[in-house]
Amino acid sequence: MNTLGSTIAYLLQGGLVTFSVWIVTIVCSLPLAALVAYVRKMNNRAVNTILGIYTTVIRGTPLLFQLIFVYFGLPIILKVQISPFVAASIAFVNSWTIYMSEIIRGSIDGIDKGQYEAGRVLGMNYSQIMLNIVFPQALVTAIPSLCNQAIEAIWGTSLLSTIGMDDVLKSARVILMRDFSVQPFIIAGGIYLLFNGAVVLLFKKIEERTSRFKVQYAK
């Protein structure tokens, strides 16, 4: 007989798969996105054209398409076998790097010109200004949008079963098929909600910690 406890344990195992892909996505994408935004701000025409086209491709095709392409297509092109986890990581990090870089780029554009000038007259060069003045401010302005992206990354993991990974949703479906009960779905929904709540809380905390410098010259 299957007890509620073993159902939960099984779903949490799926939750671990979901979480591991998510954490890899966020931890790798954020610095990469900042880097891409930085490179695009250097205004090298050739580099920007290439990155612009690439961004259009990544944002213009569904995540499911990319996931399947990386898992089934990439091994054919590169002639190497890759595990579902590696394939998922590549696809997710790639997409979220692009999504987040666009957000950070937007916030960089929102930084006052006077900030660059203040840096310049103090003798700072371009990269010193970007690193010490512009990026910290841009990242803070971007927190709410980045939080949204982090949540969308959780939703994205529900596609993992298409490349044979047993995430929360897949695990719930397995038990549902076997027991013909909606109970696992309700539990899976609860796991998603808790996960979401934790992410939102985390970003809220970060936002609070930066609130002292968020309001610019409000007085």
Binding site: Q115, E117, A118, V121, M124, I133, K214, A218
Partner: protein, 235 residues
Amino acid sequence: MISIQNISKQFKGVSVLKNVTLEIKKGEVVGLIGPSGAGKSTLLRCIVNLEPIDEGCICIDKKKISNKGIQTKTGIVFQNFNLFPQINVLENITLAPRIVRGVSKKNADQQARRLLLKVGLFDKATQFPSELSGGQIQRVAIARALAMNPEVLLFDEPTSALDPELTNEVLSVIKELAKENMTIVIASHEMNFIKQIADKVIFMEQGKIVTSGTPKDIFDGQTNTRIKKFIQLFN
């Protein structure tokens, strides 16, 4: 010390500086007055190299400033402050000395505290810009500019964005610097203040220096009716 020779500057075909020539001696306080759009700010921005000039040349200590190079012999205080909001007051002051000059944190902090004492904000070191008043922010901006030990300090309408009540605390800091023989160029509409501290006053209009002279010449013995009218507006 600063020699500006026949400089001209255009923005999209509009001439904002026309053949401006000016000598600034060491320890001199130069007041720039004139209506909005006269080119006062542009002139200051050209001296600190924020704007490239189209013609003429600017020499500081007989060395021509290039259009690309970074100018740290001159410091500038902006009308709208431009403090860095993401770091506290002390860090605002120490950032440039540390990353540009490689000064150690300890030395930079020490110098910053000295400067804060000078502008009367010693107790605000750990506050963030958002927690200060406009007058306090501008005084921090002055300390930040001084931290790079500039030989000339430029002020671009430093009190125009401030309440009248907060203006004096900023002006008294500038006055203090003038007393210490700092070379200063200040664009301002505070006529009484300019009259008090300037060694030389320059009246600009439409991108040109119309006249220059001692405060006495400009404010008291003025014969040019246009300038007379302009000065009277502020009294």
